[in-house]
């Protein structure tokens, strides 16, 4: 016991920095540290060795409610994939399509990024690889037209799932946000209740801006959840803690690599263990 570490300022600083390093943000890190200090003050925690498990418990309490499955209990279930440039939307569409198909579902993909160079080709290549049809039109055509066609086809053929890939867009660009809102309306008009999932794809390397992204996308089109990608790197994606706490958004999926199998359900316990090892 003599060799035990004291609960001192150095330890608090270290723990807070652990949370900051994971991109929770200074305010949230301070908040958790203050709650932990209270526990020490009240005597519910007396040893330094109890602090990391305490932080893990706080984080798990915050994140456990966010683990929710995709709502695909519709025919067709429509999943709209959106987010800022380069976050992993197209790859996630392919991964999801592949996994659902492997699970016996009939899947259709829609290439509604008609803007970026070779965006349609990228999704088509994936479609060929996984044996899923990709509804598309010529580059430069109206994304709403592609979405309209895709929903029509999915409904007409009584398919299980339609996954709509959209162009990357910065949430600061109001015209692009309007376009996204329009895509959502097009889907809803054709299929009441759709899209059943509107997922913001968020790169785990993103810092505090991730919260602004979630807030603005959510205001624009009512998100049903977040997919956190690139967790196979060294970034911990802690910004989702703030997103869950302040926006009450579920985290439905995580991307852990570039292969088709690298898509998993959000596991709060595993996530928290990685945040506070």
């Amino acid at each position: 016991l003599a060799s035990e570490r004291p609960i001192d300022d150095a330890l608090w600083e270290e723990l807070e920095e652990l949370l900051i390093a994971a991109d929770l943000g200074a305010a949230l890190a301070a908040d958790f540290a203050n709650r932990a200090r209270e526990e020490v003050m009240f005597g519910t925690v007396t040893r330094a060795a109890e602090l990391r498990p305490l932080f893990r418990r706080f984080l798990l309490d915050a994140l456990a409610p966010a683990a929710q499955p995709l709502d695909l209990d519709h025919r067709p279930a429509v999943v709209l994939m959106l987010g800022v440039n380069g976050s992993g939307k197209t790859t996630t569409c392919a991964k999801l399509a592949a996994q659902l198909r492997a699970g016996g579902k009939s899947v259709l993909l829609a290439a509604a990024d008609t803007f970026r160079a070779a965006a349609i080709e990228q999704l088509q290549r994936w479609g060929e690889r996984i044996g899923v049809e990709v509804v598309h039109q010529a580059a430069g055509s109206d994304p709403a037209a592609v979405v309209f066609d895709a929903v029509k086809a999915a409904a007409a053929r009584s398919l299980d799932v339609l996954i709509v890939d959209t162009a990357g867009r910065l949430h600061t660009k109001s015209n692009l946000m309007d376009e996204l809102a329009k895509l959502r309306r097009v889907i809803a008009r054709q299929l009441p209740g759709a899209p059943h999932e509107a997922l913001m794809v968020l790169d785990a390397t993103t810092g505090q801006n991730g919260f602004a992204q979630a807030r603005v996308f959510h205001e624009a089109i009512a998100l049903t959840g977040v997919c956190l990608t690139k967790l196979d790197g060294t970034a911990r994606g802690g910004i989702v803690v703030r997103i869950v706490r302040e926006l009450t958004l579920p985290i439905k999926l995580i991307g852990v690599g570039e292969r088709l199998e690298d898509l998993q359900a959000f596991d709060p316990a595993a996530f928290v263990d990685a945040l506070v090892p």
Binding site: I20, G86, G207, N209, E258
Partner: protein, 291 residues
């Protein structure tokens, strides 16, 4: 914003003509929060705040500024100095072609930046050539071919050709046709992926790039320090391109990358189109980071 928060502190501490250790320390707590909110890595923030403390304490408050404004000025000036000069003049190689190689994490903006650079040099009257050496991502070569065609810039790289062979062939083509610079687009990869880092080293050995540019997304958080440090150690970086600055990310990752590698930021990406590339302005980024 930071200025207002600092003003509140100094109002409360009682304005005097001199910045003391006490009032600067309190102000620096706010500065620390502002920098962390801006995604500057916490270790970089710690070093930075120490430097500002040393520089600010004992300073006579300039007649024209309040103490709060004085601290902001010291912080701003220190940031500008650390972010360094505008390094966008990538020096041409003594013997052409000048070879520029783009590396970085997945989705950071390399392919788009490669095209932007090609356009930049074309508008300067040069004749660049592009190498599409990403053979992994579906339609990555198509992406660069499409952009190259729009710009009238040749793109080397056929499906089924290995990245190393593409780069080698592009270099030969550049030399044979008198084209320069040669801009190499590589596949996105993790800074912890040893085999993929080895691929970059192999390309580097083969074509000896004069400028290896690390492409970094401006919204990158605390991890920027790990990414930059690892890429620099594994491959070596000459300069940095900071992309997606047309968003509202504060861009603190830039300070982290600069601190840990010592390399200059050469360009910034400010949009999706190929004309959206600008030289780096440290004073603008400093103001943005401070919010």
């Amino acid at each position: 914003n930071l200025s207002t928060r600092l003003q509140t502190i100094f109002d409360r501490l009682g304005g005097r003509g001199r910045l003391t250790e006490e009032n600067v320390q309190e102000a620096l707590r706010e500065v620390r929060v502002a920098l962390l909110e801006a995604d500057v890595n916490f270790k970089v923030v710690r070093t930075f705040v120490e430097r500002v403390l040393a520089r600010a304490v004992g300073q006579d408050v300039l007649k024209s500024l309040t103490p709060a404004q004085q601290v902001v000025k010291v912080v701003h000036d220190e940031l500008v100095e650390l972010l360094g000069g505008s390094g966008h003049r990538l020096a041409p190689a003594p013997h052409p072609p000048t070879v520029i190689m783009l590396i970085g994490l997945q989705g950071s903006g390399k392919t788009t930046t490669a095209a932007k650079l090609a356009r930049h040099y074309t508008t300067q009257g040069q004749h660049p050539i592009l190498a599409a050496a990403d053979t992994y991502r579906p339609a990555a070569q198509d992406q660069l071919q499409t952009l190259g065609a729009e710009l009238g810039v040749p793109v080397v790289g056929a499906p089924g050709e290995a990245p190393l062979a593409i780069c080698r062939r592009a270099r030969e083509e550049a030399a044979a046709r008198g084209l320069t610079p040669l801009i190499l687009d590589t596949a996105g990869r993790l800074h912890i992926d040893e085999p993929m880092l080895e691929e970059l080293r192999a390309i580097r050995r083969e074509v000896a790039p004069h400028h290896v540019l690390l492409v970094v997304d401006a919204m990158t958080g605390q991890d920027a320090v790990n990414v930059a440090e690892r890429f620099n150690r594994a491959v070596g970086i000459d300069a940095v391109v900071l992309t997606k600055l047309d968003g509202d990310a504060r861009g603190g990752a830039a300070l982290s990358v600069r601190s840990v590698t010592g390399r200059p930021i050469a360009f910034v990406g400010t949009g999706e189109k190929t004309d959206a590339l600008e030289p780096f302005h440290p004073d603008r980024l400093a103001s943005r980071i401070l919010g």
